[in-house]
């Protein structure tokens, strides 16, 4: 099967710090991949390289046939096909819940207000926020903001969703709601790449788990294999600490 995202020899330096050390990886359509690993292992940087929020130092990221490292590529167009959800939600505080969702489809895809609003309301209903459409995000809880952020990304009808520690900034009682939303996306066949510290969630939802440490992918495989029968000594050590 053709890979949706193909990463070839990806390297990223921050000054003298070699954060990603030659990563090769393929994400396939419909696949749910979680990335686990200790802090500073480079997993967030890897995810942020996929949509070029971090500019890789070298390597290739082939997305739907185009190398995003190519300067001639229209990055905005490709990013519209890669939704991203951040640890700190990053909802737009000066726009209402509804406007948060509709602003980009209306500006960049020239979708009419009526159509965009209708679509946004459908999405909001799915995550239980329909009654908050005209409020400003400051009135939402962390969990609600994160659900809004997910819906905002979904409104662009992406081919893949990238989640960067989507529950790390949430109060414990909010985590479940957000994970449920991600799970329902995955169940609907959305391709997902999820950086997470929620091991239970990773185990349940993933088709494949990637363990990263020190800028490389140490081990990758089905969740049962990763969690029940780890091979790499560093993965064994990591799991002994977190499980």
């Amino acid at each position: 099967m053709e890979a949706l995202i193909k990463v070839i020899d990806l390297n990223k330096d921050f000054g003298d710090l070699h954060v990603l050390k030659g990563i090769n990886e393929e994400i396939h359509k419909g696949e749910v991949v979680t990335i686990i690993g200790p802090s500073g292992s480079g997993k967030s940087t890897f995810l942020r390289c996929l949509n070029m929020l971090e500019k890789p130092t070298s390597g290739s990221i082939i997305f739907e046939g185009d190398d995003l490292m190519d300067k001639k590529v229209n990055l905005d167009k490709h990013r519209q096909k890669m939704g991203m959800v951040f640890q700190h939600f990053n909802v737009f505080p000066h726009l209402t819940v509804l406007e948060n969702i509709t602003i980009t489809p209306r500006l960049e895809k020239k979708i009419s207000k009526e159509v965009a609003d209708k679509k946004a309301m459908e999405l909001l209903a799915k995550v239980g926020l329909a009654d908050r459409a005209d409020e400003y995000p400051r009135k939402l809880s962390g969990g609600q903001k994160q659900r809004l952020a997910i819906v905002r990304a979904m409104a662009m009808e992406p081919d893949v969703m990238l989640f960067d520690e989507p529950t790390s900034a949430l109060d414990p009682e909010m985590v479940k709601d957000v994970l449920e939303v991600i799970r329902s996306l995955a169940d609907d066949g959305m391709t997902c790449v999820i950086v997470t510290h929620e091991m239970g969630f990773a185990k349940q939802i993933s088709d494949r788990v990637i363990f990263m440490d020190d800028g490389i992918i140490c081990e990758s495989g089905a969740p049962e294999a990763i969690f029940n029968n780890p091979q790499h000594p560093r993965l064994k050590e990591f799991l002994s600490k977190v499980l």
Binding site: R79, F86, H88, N90, P93, T104, E108, R138, M156
Partner: protein, 229 residues
């Protein structure tokens, strides 16, 4: 005593009432100068700020030098250069008029400060906001005009108002060039009516009343804008 002897002549109040028209006209002159300087300074400052965000190193370097030089030299020196030196080296009619030269100098000076106001306003917007906009595939232009600037306004507006308040005081230097503004009222009354001390106190009080009132208004504005957080 020395103080009592020095402060002789008509009272401040009577000088103020007798010359009210002059003080009023001069105050209008001051507000006009400050308004024009900051108004056009805002437009030029926005362009300077944009230029400093350029990835082109030459453009960035040139406009950074522009800002640093204007902020690092006394405004009086800039006024002298514009009012005396420029008319000497050019015969463009616009510069033959000293008022124009002074106004231009104030605009240029103001633009340097305003560009910094814009820059810090833009920097005050959380980096996550631009990352979210980019990740959605928003163009740089839409990201700036729809996401960053509307949020930066909260920081920019009060600072811009403060720049106007600063400029009200700075324009007093234009009196050196006999331009009708508040400080000129003092020069005028001293040389024509030999009033030694009253005018400067009156002028200082007017400056204070105006700037103090405006500062309080800015505080109110700041509070209003902060509410939307």
């Amino acid at each position: 005593m020395g103080l009592g002897l020095a402060l002789t002549g008509p009272s401040m109040w009577s000088v103020f009432i007798e010359n009210f028209g002059l003080f009023f006209d001069c105050l209008i002159g001051t507000l006009k100068l400050a308004g024009i300087s900051v108004g056009f300074g805002t437009v030029v400052g926005a362009i300077v700020c944009l230029a400093r965000m350029s990835k082109n190193k030459v453009i960035y370097g040139l406009f950074t030098a522009y800002v640093e030089i204007l902020r690092g030299t006394p405004i009086l020196a800039q006024l002298y250069i514009f009012a005396f030196v420029i008319p000497m080296v050019t015969d463009i009619p616009f510069f033959a008029n000293e008022y124009n030269c002074v106004v231009l100098a104030l605009i240029i000076n103001s633009s340097a400060y305003v560009s910094e106001v814009f820059r810090s306003g833009i920097q005050s917007v959380d980096k996550g906001q631009t990352e979210a906009a980019k990740s959605l595939g928003m163009s740089d232009f839409n990201m700036m005009t729809r996401i960053v600037l509307p949020q930066a306004v909260k920081t920019i507006l009060p600072s811009l108002a403060n720049e106007f308040i600063m400029m009200i005081k700075e324009t007093s230097l234009a009196s050196t060039f006999f331009i009708t503004e508040l400080m000129y009222a003092r020069t005028y009354l001293m040389s024509t009516k030999f009033l030694t001390w009253q005018p400067i106190f009156i002028v200082a009080i007017i400056y204070f009343v105006i700037t103090f009132t405006l500062s309080k208004l800015v505080n109110v504005l700041e509070k209003r804008l902060a509410v939307s957080d």
